[in-house]
Each structure stands twice: as C-alpha cells, then as structure tokens.
Symmetry: C2
Subunit: 344 residues, 2 copies
C-alpha cells in the first residue's frame, strides 16, 4: 500500500514505473529498425511512416497474426526472442503472398506482470526480424493485465503493413489449370499446430522440453522452437520480375486449408505427397499421437512452408532459382480444373 | 477422440470447424465496412487497401492498442460488443491526434475456446465502430489457444492505419508557450485504470456488477462499460481547417502522462483542476479506494478524454465550435515555459 492506507495502481498489480523503464530499454532496439521513411520517434501516439515515393498506384496490404500456443514453449524454456522472430516472419510471409514489400510492423504484448527481461527479449526478436525483413518497427503496445495472464505468461500479436503496385497484386486471379505448384521447405512447425504437438510430446510421449526427440538429434525445445522462416529474400526477385502466378503461405489448416485461398472458382489442385519426404519431426508427432494421416496434413505444414504457383513452362527454372537462393524447393503438384485439393 | 484412438486437433482443444463457422458469420459484418478503396474480400492472407488518390505527400500513421482489463467487465456481464467499440475508438483517437484520417483497422482476438456468439458480438462492436469512424475492417486474426485463457475469457487488440498529408502532421512542433489547453469530456474511464477500478469496486466497496454505484443512478456495469468516445467527428473540421497546434489523447498515465507527449523540450503546462467538476464516478472511486489525489490523476482520465492545444486567440472559438459539435468542452489551462505538467 502506498500513501497511508489508500489503494494505488501498483496495489492493483500495475507498475507504471516498470512500464516506463521497459519502454526506455526498448527505444534503442526499436530505433535500429528505422529507415528513411520512418518519421516518428517512439513515444508518439501513433507511428508515422512516409509512403515510398515514385509509386504509381500504391495498394496497402495489411495482416494481423499471433504466435499461438508456441508461446508455451517459450515459457517452458525461458527463450523469448525466437517467438518475436516467428511473429514478424509469419506476418511478412502473409503479405508477401500478395506481392507486398513490408513497410512497418507493430506488436502487441500483453502480460500479467511486466518482467523487463522477458519483454526486452521478445522485442529483441521482433526488432531483429524487422531488420532482416527490411521493415520498420513503428510502434506497439505493451499491456500489463494482472489477473489475466498466469505468472510468467504473455500473449503476443503482430500487425504488418506493406505496399504493392496495383497491377502487381497477387490475388490468385492469374492462376490457370496446369500451373505448377512449387514447394518451399519449412524449418519446422512454424507457428501452427502447437496445441496438438504439445499434447503429443508432453502428454502422449511423456517428454520434457530438454529431452531428445527419439530419432532426431534435437531436444523438444530445439525442434519445436525452430524459427518460422521468412521467404521474403528468396521470393522478392521472382516477384519483382513478375514470374509468379500466386503464393500460398502454409499456416493454420495446412496445405489443404491454404492452397484453396489462391485458387479460382472451379479450380483445384493435385499435391503429390510422394514428391518429398515428410521431415522426421512430423513423423514422430504422427506416431507419438497416432494422428490420422489427413488430420496431420490439416494441422501441420508437413515440411512445406510456402507454395509457389508458376506457369508450367517456367516451373523448373523457378525451382532452380529458389534452390540457388538457398531454399529447399521441389515441384509439389499442379493446379487442375475441378474443385478440391487432393493429396495423391 | 476421433478415428480410432489417435489424437486430433479437436482433442487438443482446437476446433477448426468452429473457427470456419465463426469466420463465415463475420464475413457479412466485415463486408458492411468496405469502402471504395477496400480491394480484398475477407479470407485472403492480407487485406488490400488502395491508398486514396490525390494526396501530395501521404504519411501513414499507425497504432496498436488493447482494451486492457476492461475486458473483465465484459466477461462478468456477458456484454461483448462495447469492448469492440472501445478498441476501435481508442485506436481512432490515437492516430487522430497526429491529424490522420483512419483508413483501415485489423483486430486480434485470442480465446481459450471459440464461442461463436461471443466472437460475433465482439466483431459486431468492432464493425459498428469502424462504420461510425469511416474506416474499413480490413482483416484480423481469431486465435483459439486452449490452456491459455480461462474459460469464457479472451484478449483483444487492435491495429489501425490512417493517413495524413505530410505538412498537416500534428507532432507537437507547433506548440508554443501561451497556447490554450481545451478539454473534451470523457464518457467514463474509457479504457484505462480498470485494474484499480475493479479492485476498488469489487473488493474495497464489495459491489457486484449489477449493484447501483452509491450516488450514481447507474449500475457498476453501466458506469464501467461506458464506451470509450471517438472524437473524430468533432475534431475533423478543426483539423481540416488547420486551426489546432496539437492534440493529446488522455490514456494510460492520465493527463500528466499524456500531455508531455506533445510538448516540446522546455515546455510544460498548467492544468487548472478547478476548471471542471470531476465526474461523480471518479469521486466514488477515489473515496472507495482512498486513492491519493495524484494517483487518481495518473491512473484515470478524471473526466478529460482529449486535450486540444490551440493558439490563445482562437481558444474560445475552438471551444465553442466543439460545444456546437456536441462535445463538453472547456478551457483547461495553458502551455508554459518550463518543464512539467502542474495540476493547480
């Protein structure tokens, strides 16, 4: 209690001074992500970002996302910078698939009690990924919400805005039957399926975070916290040269849930599940949880983080260029007439 | 358990079908907020929004925010549309203070178990406030995170992007000593101080949500859930005619925490606490929690939702115009040389 027997905000679990200190520590991190279009310093009510000049018909592309229950792995391990990177990379991929270049990012971090070290780690990861993706960390909100989050827990959401020339928007309208599907390998689960993965690993298999996963030379923590990849650097040259018909980011819903989002009415796709070897982590999860084959493909990315749709005569060349950019890429299947995504 | 004894995503607490149904129900709500610049339908990875044409040097203004523990009142009362409105109005005010017109909004809603009725109510409120503020609900993320949020609880964050001509940005640089501070009345607590307010009302005063607050003709629920006001409609004409020097949205930190955000180096302000009668709700909270005077002004808005800074010779006219627009407005004090915000 402060000042006699009266109640204060701190008594109610909110420490405005700690919040101020955390903000100060973040200022340096955030300022590293500034670019020539970032007009505001941190601390204003809204962040200011000048639209890049020399655009003909700029269209803004924006997306909101979270990290989901992958955060539980961060809580268990005390590793908080990777989820910050997951968040940014996820958002970057979500606007990349419409052809957009990221401009700026804002984060929302809500916690029961402001722990400066944790907040700083998370924002370090966010800022690092913003730098890597060439996008300014323009602002954010760090909320202290006592009685809301369990001790040591937090939720994390991100918002990204990018820009694309109107005639360069990828919205699926260019996709034609016969187009090739080209897969880009994922780095792990990315940010989807963690509620099921945790249930399998911790309950059905009885493992701890530091235990080795049977058959993998990785601990549970290493395998499950692998950072969601950004495909921006690899795909940007292909987008700039206008060679792609569409992109699908494989997130919640897996390949069958996300591929249809860029297919036209009456279009379907045939995905050749024999075209790649599902990474061991997914095989371990399937076996450990006795998960049905279809459910696996609906919940997890199964090793495919992004699907590129390109004209059939350019498909091999696109796949080669992606491989040269350091991606694991292969021809995954093709677009067909007739609805549905078929796993063959 | 589904399909024999294998685990499914539903067993892990995530119901993708319920999520799909909720998305379908939201589609109609969201589509009502579309305007001529909204290029995307819901369901794409990112929302598409064409930048308004005929701007000279457009600067994007963006802000992220949450509703904080005001959400607990929504949980207690089962009223979920007002917090959606709180969220949008809060975000609109946060970019309005830099002079920006809102373009689009995205929400992040995270819950332990997807309850369609609750999600729909929240998004109804968000969509309604987007309509009222002339901004498109461009997208959002609804995350089901079992083991994360208590049953019936959720968190809610919002992200807004607006635009302002570069030479019309309000960033505090126009503020001069002698400028007048003009207050705009708040509708209640808006979205700040709820952790302390709940502790006072429910613990120190022992009230329930449906109890009348002593001295007010309102229940706890009515008084505390009063919707955060948007000042956009009232302030837009003054912004368009370039009559204002700055605006400060009174959020977390109260008047002394927010006014300095738009004051220059070496500038302070004198706030005449005798210039208005603090609304009864704040007086009840102060008495009920025996909260120190300064703490009250640091945690709550005390009846002042927005502070307008205008040249002294235009101050009465600005206040009159705001009153004519339906605002409660009065001269609150003035900008001074010398640091600090003094409550006199």
């Amino acid at each position: 209690m402060s000042e006699g027997d009266g109640l204060s905000y701190r008594d109610a679990g909110v420490d405005l001074d700690a919040a101020d200190r955390a903000k100060h520590a973040l200022k340096e991190l955030v300022s590293r992500t500034r670019d020539e279009n970032t007009l505001s310093e941190m601390g204003l009510f809204g962040g200011l970002y000048a639209l890049p000049e020399k655009m003909e018909r700029p269209v803004l592309v924006s997306s909101a996302d979270g990290v989901g229950t992958k955060l539980k792995l961060a809580f268990l391990t005390g590793t908080h910078h990777t989820v910050g990177q997951d968040l940014v990379n996820h958002c970057v991929n979500d606007i990349l698939v419409q052809g957009a270049v990221p401009l700026f990012f804002l984060d929302y971090l809500a916690t029961g009690r402001m722990e400066e070290g944790v907040v700083t780690q998370v924002v370090q990861g966010v800022a690092q990924a913003c730098l890597e993706n060439g996008c300014a960390l323009l602002g954010g909100e760090t909320a202290e919400m006592p009685d809301f989050y369990s001790s040591g827990e937090y939720d994390l959401a991100g918002f990204i805005t990018g820009v694309v020339e109107r005639e360069r928007i990828l919205d699926g309208s260019r996709v034609r039957p016969g187009d090739a599907l080209i897969a880009l390998g994922s780095s792990g689960l990315h940010t989807n399926g963690f509620s099921l993965a945790r249930k399998i690993v911790f309950e059905a298999m009885g493992l701890g975070v530091e235990d080795l996963i049977p058959g993998l030379e990785k601990t549970v923590a290493e395998a499950l916290l692998a950072i969601h990849r950004s495909y921006s650097a690899s795909l940007r040259p292909l987008l700039d040269s206008n060679r792609l018909h569409a992109l699908a980011h494989v997130t919640g819903g897996g390949i069958p849930g996300n591929l249809p989002r860029v297919l036209g009415d009456g279009q379907g796709a045939s995905v050749d599940t024999g075209s790649w070897e599902v990474p061991p982590l997914f095989q371990v999860l399937q076996g450990g949880g006795k998960v049905a084959h279809e459910e696996m493909y609906r919940v997890f990315n199964m090793g495919v983080g992004m699907i590129v749709i390109a004209p059939p005569d350019d498909a091999d060349s696109v796949a080669n260029d992606l491989a040269a950019a350091g991606e694991t890429s292969w021809i995954l299947g093709e677009v067909r007439e007739g609805g549905g995504v078929e796993l063959v």
